[in-house]
């Protein structure tokens, strides 16, 4: 599924530039181009579908088989009669044989039926759809800001490794990387939102919109104010990785011959970096950025939990506390599937960025 051109995870060495020279020196002809594109897309789709299937199986295995008796796991420490357990069991179809359960579950997934939440007494799919918007808003804003910041600073740091800018940037990034996400959020709340201590409560401690907000403009402004701390937390944690990836990628490109050519052409140093080195260094970076989307999901769960942001992450947390395994299972499948789909997107977009791997 991630057999992207630069095998992500392998150190992106200088070999990343050794694109295979096409056997036909005249370059690929137009004929058969559409066929090759179709084959490439079909190949990526197949691997993505296989990964999704694996997620479905994993979801079943994790939540139906591993716990032994899911009902006992859910009702642990509660006063529940044997009849109530039986009732729950029937309700969740746990009295059926395992293979029947799996088929029901898989068929349900195809209809986007993720089962019923034990805690909310509502279909899981509906709960997820209702909470999707806030999560996309938060995760999207955080990722975009973090990527821009990380790539910008990483390119500067990698161009002069060992320089003062590099040392400061790397130190800050390493420190932020070592700090647990949720703790950073807690810190921001205590010092910037709680209103106790040196700073007045500049930002709300949680939520998405102030209760009294009225009208579109007021809602938007209130949302923006509520977003500041959660987004800052997400950015602080994610940008460091982008910075380090971009830095090492650029350091790999630094010795490339085409940079000497660019310098010989009389380009300024900044132009050499921006026009020649960065576009090449970006390619392995893009793959790794998409591979790290799983960490964005992890980040958003924690940030939503800390800031009581009414999104999927908070839903996940509330499911964990009960524990509401049906809800957690549905969210597991949705989180995993969305990451796989984003990776598929990356695979499909990558050839547009790198002419060497165009089918």
């Amino acid at each position: 599924m991630t057999s992207t051109p630069t095998r992500a995870g392998d150190p992106p060495g200088p070999g990343a530039n050794d694109a295979p020279v096409p056997a036909d020196p005249a370059g690929p002809g137009r004929a058969g181009r559409a066929g090759r594109v179709a084959r490439y897309v079909a190949g990526r789709l197949t691997t993505a579908l296989a990964s999704l299937a694996a997620v479905v199986v994993a979801g079943f295995f994790l939540f139906r088989i591993l716990p032994g008796d899911p009902v006992r796991a859910m009702t642990e420490g509660r006063e529940v009669t044997a009849e109530q357990r039986e009732e729950l069991r029937r309700q969740f179809g746990l009295d059926q044989p395992l293979w029947q359960q799996f088929l029901d579950y898989a068929a349900g997934l195809l209809r986007f039926d993720l089962g019923t939440s034990f805690q909310y007494r509502e279909p899981v799919a509906e709960l997820i759809l209702n909470r999707l918007g806030p999560t996309v808003l938060l995760a999207g804003t955080g990722t975009v800001v973090a990527a821009l910041l990380g790539l910008f600073l990483g390119a500067r740091a990698g161009w002069r490794p060992g320089g003062r800018g590099d040392r400061v940037n790397t130190a800050v990034a390493l420190f932020l990387w070592s700090v647990p996400t949720f703790w950073l959020g807690l810190l921001l709340i205590v010092f910037l939102a709680s209103g106790r201590g040196f700073v007045p409560g500049l930002f709300p401690t949680g939520g998405m919109v102030a209760p009294g907000a009225d009208g579109a403009l007021e809602t938007a402004l209130s949302t923006a104010r509520h977003m500041v701390l959660p987004v800052a937390t997400m950015v602080a944690v994610i940008y460091a990785q982008y910075l380090m990836i971009m830095r090492s990628s650029l350091m790999d490109e630094k010795g490339a011959d085409y940079l000497t050519t660019a310098r010989a052409k009389g380009l300024r140093d900044t132009l050499v970096r921006r026009r020649h080195a960065v576009p090449n260094a970006l390619l392995p970076t893009v793959t790794l950025v998409f591979l790290n989307l799983g960490q964005v999901v992890s980040g958003v769960i924690l940030v939503e939990t800390v800031f009581s942001w009414p999104g999927l992450g908070q839903l996940f947390y509330s499911g964990l506390r009960v524990p509401d395994l049906g809800l957690v299972q549905g969210l597991f499948v949705v989180f995993a599937a969305s990451v796989i789909l984003m990776n598929l997107l990356a695979d499909l977009v990558y050839p547009l960025l790198d002419p060497r791997v165009r089918p």
Binding site: A19, Y258, K265, G266
Partner: protein, 340 residues
């Protein structure tokens, strides 16, 4: 007449963790406008370092001294702005191994156009037409404009490099191993092309290669480098056919025949390894591999000396060997011999 290029006592020293390593040790070169000069030598002899030093393209760890006069102006003293203006517009380079010298993710047309935009030599509106003309000059169809380097063969990429080098109509082109990675047929084509374009535009060319046969067929004059120094220079025909320095002799006898790796791996009459640049023992550096070395060679490092001082235009042919020229180095020898 000012020469196009006048290199005086060029020295390049790489600062490494284990001390300073001299790569180029006092090289003098001269090239008239429109002339062609070949610079030959085995790998590690410092010839590519010379090429990069001419436009100050060496990394920060290299210390460069001496003078590089490009049309009378010393490149090594230039301010950054002036240096950028001279790069490519005054002197351009056809780099070795065009695969890595072209940016893999930019279209070749844009890469050829880039120096014109940077130096403003061509009005923006006319740049595409000029690129097309350049591609045509090097024998590539206009349709290649939008191709990427990996879509071209090695020879085609080298043609692109040449088109790019001519983009700003420089007075000097430095061809650094421009044909090395190509097979023999393509090599001949590229050489012919380069020779023709340089002659047509009256451009001076410094051609660097380890292959003496390439240089002798392309250049008026040839200089031979060994261990960071010029050991012989003069008219190409004479240097190749009647070499005066033992190293030049070995090199011209050992013409690598392309396609026959054996001749390359075992050059006739030249045993031993290239010298370690960090080694600073006295005497002639070629001595350990020299078939005609004598005792004096262990102490005397001879300067370049006219090969035949009585001949007409004698100063044009020089070699650095105790066997060449008058008795001067030999008479100096006994006093030096006592030193160890």
């Amino acid at each position: 007449m000012t020469s196009l290029l006048d290199v005086r006592d060029l020295c390049v020293t790489y600062r490494t963790g284990g001390g300073d390593v001299p790569a180029v040790r006092g090289v003098d070169l001269a090239l008239d406008p429109g002339g062609t000069l070949g610079l030959a030598g085995e790998s590690g002899s410092g010839k590519s370092t010379v090429a990069l030093a001419l436009l100050r393209l060496l990394p920060g760890t290299a210390g460069v001294t001496g003078e590089v006069l490009l049309e009378g102006e010393n490149v090594l003293d230039m301010r950054w702005g002036r240096l950028r203006a001279v790069r490519w517009a005054g002197a351009s380079i056809v780099f070795q191994g065009a695969m890595h010298s072209l940016n893999p993710v930019r279209r070749i047309g844009d890469q050829i156009a880039e120096p014109m935009a940077v130096h403003g030599t061509v009005p923006a509106g006319e740049v595409p037409a000029r690129v097309t003309a350049l591609l045509e000059q090097v024998g590539l169809p206009d349709s290649r404009y939008r191709d990427y380097p990996h879509q071209l063969s090695g020879g085609q990429r080298q043609r692109v490099m040449i088109a790019m080098a001519l983009a700003c109509e420089p007075r000097l082109v430095i061809a650094d191993e421009a044909t090395t990675a190509l097979d023999v047929m393509i090599q001949a084509q590229i050489l012919t092309l380069l020779k023709r374009l340089v002659a047509e535009h009256g451009i001076g060319m410094l051609m660097i290669s380890h292959d003496l046969s390439v240089l002798s067929s392309t250049c008026d004059r040839v200089a031979i480098m060994y261990a960071g120094r010029i050991v012989e220079q003069g008219p190409a025909r004479e240097v190749v056919h009647e070499p005066a320095h033992p190293y030049a002799d070995a090199l011209s006898a050992a013409f690598p025949r392309i396609g026959d790796p054996a001749s390359r791996l075992a050059p006739r009459g030249l045993p031993g390894d290239p010298p370690d640049p960090a080694d600073r023992s006295p005497g002639c550096v070629f001595r350990p591999r020299c078939a005609v070395a004598e005792t004096v060679c262990a102490t005397v490092d001879p300067p370049l000396w006219p090969v035949d001082p009585d001949a007409e235009g004698a100063s044009t042919r020089q070699a650095a060997c105790v066997h060449v020229g008058p008795a001067r180095p030999l008479t100096a020898a006994p006093t030096e011999e006592k030193r160890p």
